[in-house]
């Protein structure tokens, strides 16, 4: 899952991955491993330990950097959330007395597998973020990024305190209000006008699809859990029964044990190939929208600078100042527009490729599992019917 990046200009390679991760009580420690031929690093291969907050710091530093206003900033990875899983493990521990040893062991294995799956996912999402940065022709050169990769001490990045969080909140509010205002202005450029319309609708629909896919997968997991319990009950019935049914029950119990593992796998694969895909593009489409807002903001600034220049010329006061300001705004707007266009085209390419890959893999996995289920069911039926 590492991305090999070859910068043809400087012939430098930058490869980043998360080689290890440790889950402690309330935090996860990621080992970020870098292989690079870039001259600014002291060594060619090195590792540091980073926590989630440091990833967020890096992401925010990109967002706040005016130089990167024209790029889609790779979305920050979501916070590792083991709360639900931990709660379930705790409940299981409390309920240990009320179930048989087999049931307890089985459930414990289930929950541990779930915990592991969540863990793997959060590692993957943090890794994807770093890889996106390393793949970006400009961002990969960012100094903060290099510090993040190389500095082997704690970055002492504290989480934002209340005041800063509030400031962020208001910034977002203003941006949204701005967004509405700015979105209302029809863009002269057809490309951006289309992108605006497209992204606004797309983002909302991805959001909806993401939520609905989560719900669907949740139900699937629940059904698999039920089949697990059914298998256990059938097993007990099989060991207790004195009639012909005992072998019958044991066989069916064995069948359900196997099919429910497949059902659980289906839910997990749907989660990985569908739900995660949608979640990721929810975040990416938001990042793309943010880019459009920044461009619109720059456009507004440019238009205001034009008006200011006209006024200055009319009054014949501070004309030079107004001219400089106008030139800066123009330059900024044009720079953003140029890179934004490329970014949005790349976004589409990435999106189509990712959906294709995931949908194909999803279909292949669904087929594989359905065939597996079918084989198990038919095999068991053959035996059961043969004996009756």
């Amino acid at each position: 899952s590492a991305v090999l990046n070859v910068d043809l200009q400087t012939d430098a390679m930058l490869q980043v991955d998360i080689s290890d991760a440790l889950s402690e009580r309330d935090k996860v420690k990621f080992t970020v491993h870098t292989k690079s031929t870039l001259p600014n690093f002291k060594q060619n291969e090195f590792s540091v330990v980073r926590q989630h907050e440091e990833f967020i710091w890096l992401h925010d530093s990109f967002v706040e950097n005016e130089e990167y206003a024209g790029y889609i900033i790779p979305p920050a990875p979501p916070r590792p959330d083991f709360d639900a899983s931990r709660e379930k493990l705790q409940k299981l521990g409390e309920g240990e007395g009320s179930m048989t040893k087999e049931e307890f062991t089985k459930m414990k294995q289930e929950l541990e597998a779930e915990y592991l799956a969540i863990f793997k996912k959060t590692v993957a999402m943090h890794e994807v973020f770093l890889c996106r940065v390393a793949a970006h022709p400009v961002l990969r050169k960012d100094l903060n990024f290099h510090v993040f990769l190389e500095y082997n001490q704690d970055l002492s990045v504290r989480g934002k305190n209340k005041k800063e969080k509030l400031e962020d909140f208001f910034k977002n509010v203003v941006k949204s209000a701005d967004g509405v205002l700015v979105a209302g202005v029809k863009d002269v450029d057809d490309f951006f006008e289309h992108e605006k319309t497209f992204l606004l609708e797309y983002h909302n629909r991805v959001k909806d699809a993401s939520a609905k896919s989560d719900r669907m997968i949740r139900s699937h997991k629940n059904a698999a859990d039920d089949i697990n319990r059914i298998a256990s009950s059938l097993y007990t019935l099989g060991t207790q029964d004195s009639t012909d049914l005992c072998k019958f029950f044991l066989k069916v119990s064995e069948l359900f044990e196997k099919t429910r593992k497949i059902e659980a796998r289906i839910a997990a694969d749907e989660d990985l190939k569908l739900a995660d895909l949608l979640k990721y593009y929810l975040r990416e489409s938001q990042a793309a929208k943010d880019l459009l807002y920044r461009r619109s903001r720059a456009l507004v600034d440019y238009e205001n600078a034009n008006k200011a220049l006209d006024k200055a010329r009319a009054k014949n006061r501070d004309v030079l100042q107004a001219e400089t300001s106008q030139q800066l705004c123009c330059h900024k707007f044009e720079k953003i527009s140029e890179s934004a266009k490329q970014e949005l085209i790349d976004f589409k390419t990435r999106r189509v490729a990712a959906f294709r890959k995931n949908l194909v893999e999803l279909a292949e996995l669904e087929l594989k599992h359905a065939k597996g289920n079918l084989q198990l069911l038919q095999g068991c039926l053959g035996i059961l019917k043969g004996n009756t």
């Binding site: 896919s213 207790q240 279909a363």
Partner: protein
Amino acid sequence: MSLCTELVLDITYHQVKAPLFLVAQDLTLFCICVNVQSQPASLAAEDISTNSNGPKQDSLFDDDPEDLFAEATEEVSLDSPERDVLLSDGPSPAITPITPPTSVITPRIGHTHDDMFTHSSFDEIEEEEGGDSFDIHISVSDPEKVGEYMTSMSLFKRSEFAVKRRFSDFLGLHSKLASKYLHIGYIVPPAPEKSIVGMTKVKVGKEDQSSNEFVEKRRSALERYLMRTVKHPILLKDPDVLQFLESSELPRAVSTQALSSAGLLRMVNKAADAVNKMTIKMNESDAWFEEKQQHFENLDVQLRKLHTSVESLVCHRKELSVNTAQFAKSAAMLGNSEDHTALSRALSQLAEVEEKIDQLHQDQANADFYLFSELLGDYVRLLTAVKGVFDHRMKTWQKWQDSQMLLQKKREAEAKLQFTNKPDKLQQAKDEIKELEGKVQQGERDFEQISKTIRKEVSRFEKERVKDFKTIIIKYLESLVQTQQQLIKYWEAFLPEAKAIS
């Protein structure tokens, strides 16, 4: 050659709106098709089952025909609180071996139409369950009579007929059978339970999915109940059962109202019994009974547990269906807004696949319920009847012991009276002793009889249980197979669409 009878039941349902001048009446018509065919046991029983989801309908008469018929015409002991007059439908059938039938199974009569009303129910203020009624279509195939032999099909007067029955009629039938047979050791299948919530919805006339589902549940439950009842070789011959299946009109208003009070009485008796059971300590001379009771106790616990899990599965499967449908819609919307043409098309295809899959989940949830869940629910209820007959055996034993103790006391008293000069009292004592001796003998006979009956009943029950579980679970697994096959079809169709994205 012993006789065997194939009975196939098919119940359908029609809901009918009552005219406005009636007060909150809903007339629910259930149409029951009963197909009866008689064959010798040597022929393999053919599966002529209908589209009903109920258990397979093989039925074998008891191996001991003599006992059967004797019991069918015997007057039942008269301890029960309510006793209907036993009606006889004609001469008791002779035990006859028959040659293979050459007749064809009569095709089932089509279902009744929506506008059929039970004319007799108009003028009745029913309790909350009373408004519904059922149509029973019965077709009885009549094998050729060979020589002077008569077939067991002389149980039925006609070969094809239709009757209408209410839900409360089924309950009435059950209560009659229970009062006649439970206390002498027969496992009488319990009737489906009432449901106030469900019934209210139907009464209000809601034509929505949940009230339709409720009615279908009830229809299916009644079908299984009736099937189990007529599969029982003794119960099938009971005059009340025959009347239930055949008579155009059943005794009405009185019995339904009496039913509630009789039902109440029975409940009270049950409660008293529960208390008594705790104080009866029986000297179990027969380990078989103790072992069986324990077995049924364990079975009950496990079946209830399994039932709960299956009910949960039904619920989650239905949720999955709903959520899949919602996701399908959402995916379609996403496909619409996607501006890359090939991807847009693929997403629309995904939406279509998920929509088909949601229907698949819905169908599977129905199979989960009607096959698996209801099987378990039925057996949980059946086990209460089984436990009931064991309890009755204990009560019978207790009665016998009580008589014996009383006899003992009387004898002691008589011995004392010998030395007094009270010839009248002495004679009275001797008379009482004579009577009690008779009671003790009867008590012992009753106890032996109920023990014998229970052994037979348990053996038959277990055979049925094995058959039921095997048959239905296999059917259920087949439903799972079908679902997987469909899934494969859908995803195989989608895969090239996904690959076509470029």
